[in-house]
């Protein structure tokens, strides 16, 4: 793969008077966090591979306001939301896909009342659709038979009831999917939600990400699969804290699909 990936912006589409099939909302983590950028790039590769006509907002994208809202700053949230909605509506965006469950939840559930109505999909849902439409081929490749446990992101699972899309994709990779005791509706949070990512945790006996990582490691997985850049960071830190990074990887479902094919 060449260094630069082709990532068209909405502005470029607008300039030639065209609309992409879908807007890829990259999110702050996906744009700036070194680990999450790899997920972004893996997802872009899959979009190219499936010949999806997509665009990003690029420098016109701004934080959805999720951490501000969950921290209690409704003002800042609504300022961000209305700014973003103005941009999205100006481009007449209809469909949005994002690899961040927090962006997904906020745009899907909290933007409509503020004037932003779009069809919003998490990237695992979108990839599943591509798979069903035969546009994307997912095969075992190098993950075939590998022991995988999936960590449900709160804002995809409990918050929006999506437990199956990521699991279906993993199953297509012909992995041995093992479930932690606390999974799906009873999945344990990674500890990052509700703006915890951006603050020290309160005094306690343990960090939440360690508690979750220990549970995941009990499953003796080769890979802990995640579907959220924040969960990914928390679990990666947890695995490092347990000095298991040589044996266990934390990977986004999209990265696994892209890597299986060596795209």
């Amino acid at each position: 793969m060449s260094d630069a990936i082709k990532v068209p912006t909405m502005a470029e589409y607008m300039a030639v008077g065209k609309q992409p099939e879908v807007l890829f909302w990259v999110g702050c983590a996906g744009s700036f966090d070194d680990r999450a950028k790899k997920i972004t790039k893996a997802f872009v590769k899959l979009l190219h591979n499936a010949k999806v006509d997509f665009a990003v907002l690029g420098t016109e994208e701004s934080c959805t306001g999720d951490p501000a809202k969950r921290a209690g700053n409704e003002f800042l949230f609504q300022m961000q939301a209305m700014g973003n909605i103005e941009v999205l509506n100006a481009y007449e965006v209809k469909k949005i896909v994002t690899a961040c469950p927090h962006c997904f939840n906020t745009i899907k559930n909290e933007y409509p009342e503020l004037g932003g109505n779009y069809e919003v999909m998490h990237h695992t849902q979108f990839l599943k659709t591509l798979l069903n439409e035969g546009r994307l081929k997912v095969e075992g490749g190098k993950f075939k038979g590998k022991r995988i446990t999936f960590h449900d992101p709160c804002y995809l699972g409990r918050a929006n009831g999506e437990y199956e899309a990521p699991r279906e994709l993993l199953q297509k990779l012909e992995v041995e999917l093992v479930e932690m005791k606390r999974c799906k509706t009873r999945g344990l949070c990674c500890g990052a939600g509700g703006a915890q990512m951006f603050k020290e945790s309160e005094a306690g006996t343990k960090d939440i990400n360690i508690e979750r990582t220990e549970e995941a490691l009990e499953m003796q997985p080769d890979i802990i699969a995640a579907g959220c850049p924040f969960c990914n960071t928390m679990l990666t830190d947890g695995v490092k804290g347990k000095e298991k990074e040589a044996d266990v990887q934390v990977m986004d479902v999209a990265e696994m699909i892209a890597n299986a094919e060596d795209l």
Binding site: K37, T59, N73, M79, E110, E113, K199, G204, I208
Partner: protein
């Protein structure tokens, strides 16, 4: 003279129901201290939830042992109430086993009551063992010390005694039926108490009547006392679970409420034609308080939630913050809300209206440390078998801290400043948002 028992019964019944009604009106008055919410939408879906979640106990069985035991006790409670109806008619009119006129069906009915009474007794004893011998962790958290712990046990003792009285009453009745005592019609089938009745074999008729009448009276008086105990206890859920589930949120759990008062201000700020220095229009409403610092700032549904909570602790045992030793316990959020609301209610009882008492829900009951430990993961909301939402209270109290008091934790202020200035929680320039595509 012969009507004295009927009159006494009527007095007891009227007093029991009267006092209960008075207290329920207090509950309603206190709930109405909260902000009105429009929940007149989706009637069908809401009724469906009541049928499935409340009546059908669908979320109870997520934990199979507790769920099954609860269903037994709950079924017993509902079905045995038919018997209470008979007892009330008998008590008022001096009849005995008035429903026995329905014939063979009565045998089945009484048999069903007896079997359920035994099952309830066993269920309640197992509940007691889980709490007091097995000491299941969620019943021994910090907030369960003192009254909450005793309250839970009192309820179990009440139920044990009521069931024992019911079976004793039937056993003595059966013996009296065998003796052919006047007034004791031969009716009913007694699959459980027939094993108790041999105890009474050699008792005289008058002793048996004394035992039967005592058990009958203690049973019905016990029920009336228990009814009135509800208001002072966490046990109100047996009534409030139904409306509470009806008013439970229908939206995806991730959808947090957008504050309309904020929307108004933000729109004004973004309107290029608005004059930022304009004085508020004559007679304009005072700006709303953002978020909640006391119970009056919460919605009526949130206050109903607080009265409905039966302190089972499923929320707390699923809470990631609580599991890792943080002070936050969603159950305590609900208990504190109710305790404060009761305090405000008593204040109104004494003063005729609420006189500021220098206290509030924030700090005096719920600490900031608890509020900031929440990850908003919705595990507590998912876990609640009766659709209580502790998370919404936590969120609204955070809103008060941040928007009214600027009292967010330092690091969060940093993240929020970044979002405000450069559109991301980290200090990166928005103009660099697409740089990743050129990085190897």
């Amino acid at each position: 003279m012969q009507y004295i028992p009927n009159i006494l019964f009527l007095i007891a019944l009227a007093a029991g129901i009267g006092y209960f009604t008075m207290n329920i009106r207090k509950v309603i008055r206190n709930i109405k201290l909260g902000l009105a919410v429009d929940a007149s939408d989706h009637k069908k879906e809401r009724m469906g939830n009541v049928l499935r979640i409340a009546l059908g106990q669908s979320k109870m069985v997520v934990r199979p042992v507790a769920g099954l035991l609860h269903i037994i006790v709950y079924l017993g409670f509902i079905v045995i109430n038919i018997e209470v109806l008979e007892i009330i008619i008998d008590g008022l009119f001096g009849t005995h086993r008035i429903f026995s006129g329905i014939g063979a069906a009565y045998d089945y009915l009484i048999a069903a009551f007896e079997i359920l009474a035994l099952l309830v007794l066993v269920g309640v004893i197992l509940f007691w063992i889980r709490r007091n011998i097995q000491k299941i962790k969620r019943f021994w958290s910090a907030e369960m010390k003192g009254w909450p712990k005793n309250d839970a046990n009192y309820i179990l003792y009440f139920e044990m005694v009521l069931m024992l009285l019911f079976l004793t009453m039937n056993a003595a009745d059966l013996q009296l039926q065998h003796l052919g005592a006047a007034h004791y019609v031969e009716a009913g089938s007694f699959p459980v108490s027939q094993y108790l009745s041999p105890i009474f074999e050699n008792f005289s008729e008058s002793t048996l009547i004394l035992i039967e009448r005592s058990a009958w009276w203690l049973h019905i008086l016990g029920i009336l006392v228990f009814l009135n105990y509800l208001y002072f206890s966490k046990h109100l859920h047996i009534i409030l679970a139904f409306p509470n589930v009806y008013f439970g949120s229908l939206a995806p759990k991730g959808k947090f409420r957008n504050l309309a008062s904020v929307t108004k201000e933000v729109k004004l700020m973004m309107d290029p034609n608005a004059d930022p220095f304009a004085a508020p229009a004559e007679g304009a409403e005072a700006p709303a308080k953002f978020g909640a610092s006391d119970v009056m700032d919460l919605s009526r549904i949130q206050l109903l939630n607080a009265y409905t909570c039966t302190e089972c602790g499923r929320c707390t045992s699923e809470c990631p913050a609580n599991q890792t030793g943080k002070k936050l316990s969603p159950r305590k959020i609900m208990m504190d809300t109710r305790d404060r609301l009761q305090e405000v209610g008593k204040n109104i009882d004494t003063n005729g209206e609420f006189k500021p008492d220098g206290k509030q829900l924030l700090d005096d009951y719920i600490t900031r440390e608890e509020l900031w430990a929440c990850t908003t993961c919705n595990a507590c909301v998912e876990a609640c078998p009766v659709s209580i939402d502790p998370l919404s209270i936590i969120m609204e109290m955070r809103q008060y801290l941040v928007m009214e008091q600027s009292a967010a934790p330092m690091e969060l202020n940093g993240a929020m400043t970044n979002i405000e200035n450069n559109g991301a929680p980290w200090p990166y320039n928005q103009m660099d948002r697409l740089n990743w595509k050129n990085e190897g």
